[in-house]
Amino acid sequence: MNWLINTLGSSVGKKLMMSITGFVFILFLIGHLIGNLTIYVGPDAFNAYAGHLQSLKPALRLMESGLIFFAIVHIFTGLILFYQNFKARPNRYEVNKQAGGRTLGSATMPYTGLIILAFVIFHLFDFTFVDKTGRTVYDIVAASFSNPVYVFLYIASVFIVGIHVSHGFWSAFQTIGINHPKYMPTIQTAGLLFSLIVAIGFGFIPLFISLIS
């Protein structure tokens, strides 16, 4: 087991864990977004989708436990990396200038990450851990989005998710060693597109619901 701790505990190993768990969340975002699209078909389709998910109980529980496990790994490893990287330069520069490598996404990863964590907790308490007797999932969602503050909060949060993913996407490939001039440009473009799709795809739903109700 020593070899595993040595490998995963190293700087490169910790990055590997960030990358793999990050890939899982990218897949989750894709699945979540596709599922959410049913809301455009109408309340019934959305409720049917939610009911269908619930009927898959054992599989759903397994996925949920997996996601929680990956989230814990992603968050704790990320916090350790954040702390270590902060400590690696005790005396800061007096003049700071960038050479063009850094992006909005890369420079804010720990902060956007923590905001996303807060959002996910809020989101779960808003839609998942609520009393569902006598109301459909759509009712709960529509009630939330009748409040403009909630609409704003959700849109702002999914944009922050987009910013996080704009760096995380290509970075996850680079970390597991997938970088070649033949396809890295494609991966980077795909990453930017994906973060836009996430931000707009999720962000339009609260707006849509609040507009039609």
Partner: protein, 254 residues
């Protein structure tokens, strides 16, 4: 066209590790734009010495961009603002009359400031000593071309081997990570048949030593490749990651 310029320099002065350090301002005049940045500092040091003051300590050796001894952060950029240029090869023609230039040392926990702009980059040597070599049984010289290497592989290995160990990648990295340096050294040996034999041991040892020296973790900010005077690409970091995972998960080394 040659012309002479006057500049205001804000130079980091720090008398050893205990000292907190501070910027001091100096005026230099009549600097030829044909001079290199280090020659400009030489001129200032001459004046300081004549005035009976302590000259500014900075490192340099070859002054032709190949040894990796020089390097300071100039206006927030390691080796100054010119791409693929060491500080000794940065010429004063890139500055304008009346400019104010801030000069500070490379900063990282793993690089201690010895004095003024001079830093101890011995941590990079430690990383090399832990695996940046190949073991060869000294015997008769092997025949030329006994080990075939394709031109393309040789090119990529030599691109990586261009690293001069200056530490600008560490200085530029927001996390003070040495991954670009380590990846250049791991890559250039891992690509060649002579280096492949010890590739697994090397990747593990060099990453472990890098971690132990107190460098930060790479988060793919790409500032290193933008500042590297030799244009080392982060493709090498991806290769280092592959070599490290291969060694960690599939080799007999621990």
């Amino acid at each position: 066209m040659t012309q002479n310029i006057n500049l205001t320099l804000k130079v980091w002065r720090q008398n050893g590790q205990q000292d907190k350090g501070r910027f001091e301002t100096y005026e230099v005049s009549d600097i030829s734009t044909d001079m290199s940045f280090l020659e400009m500092l030489d001129v200032l040091n001459e004046t300081l010495t004549l005035e009976g003051k302590e000259p500014i300590a900075f490192d340099s050796d070859c002054r032709e961009g190949i040894c990796g001894q020089c390097g300071s952060v100039v206006n927030g950029r390691p080796h100054g603002q010119e791409k693929k240029t060491t500080l000794c090869q940065l010429h004063m023609r890139h500055f304008k009359n009346g400019d104010t230039i801030a000069i500070e040392p490379f900063r990282a926990r793993a690089f201690k400031v010895l004095k003024d702009l001079m830093v101890d980059r011995g941590a990079l040597d430690k990383v090399i000593q832990s695996g940046g070599f190949i073991s060869v049984n000294a015997g008769g010289a092997p025949d030329a071309n006994a080990i075939p290497v394709s031109g393309e592989i040789a090119e990529r290995a030599m691109d990586a081997a261009q690293c001069i160990g200056c530490g600008a990648c560490v200085a530029a990295c927001p996390n003070a990570s040495a991954m670009l340096f380590v990846s250049a050294n791991v890559s250039h040996l891992a690509l060649l048949p002579q280096g492949k034999l010890e590739a697994a041991k090397r990747a593990l040892a060099m990453v472990r030593t890098m971690d132990a020296c107190g460098f930060g973790n790479c988060s793919n900010e790409r500032e290193c490749e933008a500042e590297c005077p030799k244009g080392i690409s982060i493709i090498n970091i991806a290769r280092l990651n592959r070599e490290f995972f291969k060694a960690g998960f599939f080799s007999h080394n621990e």
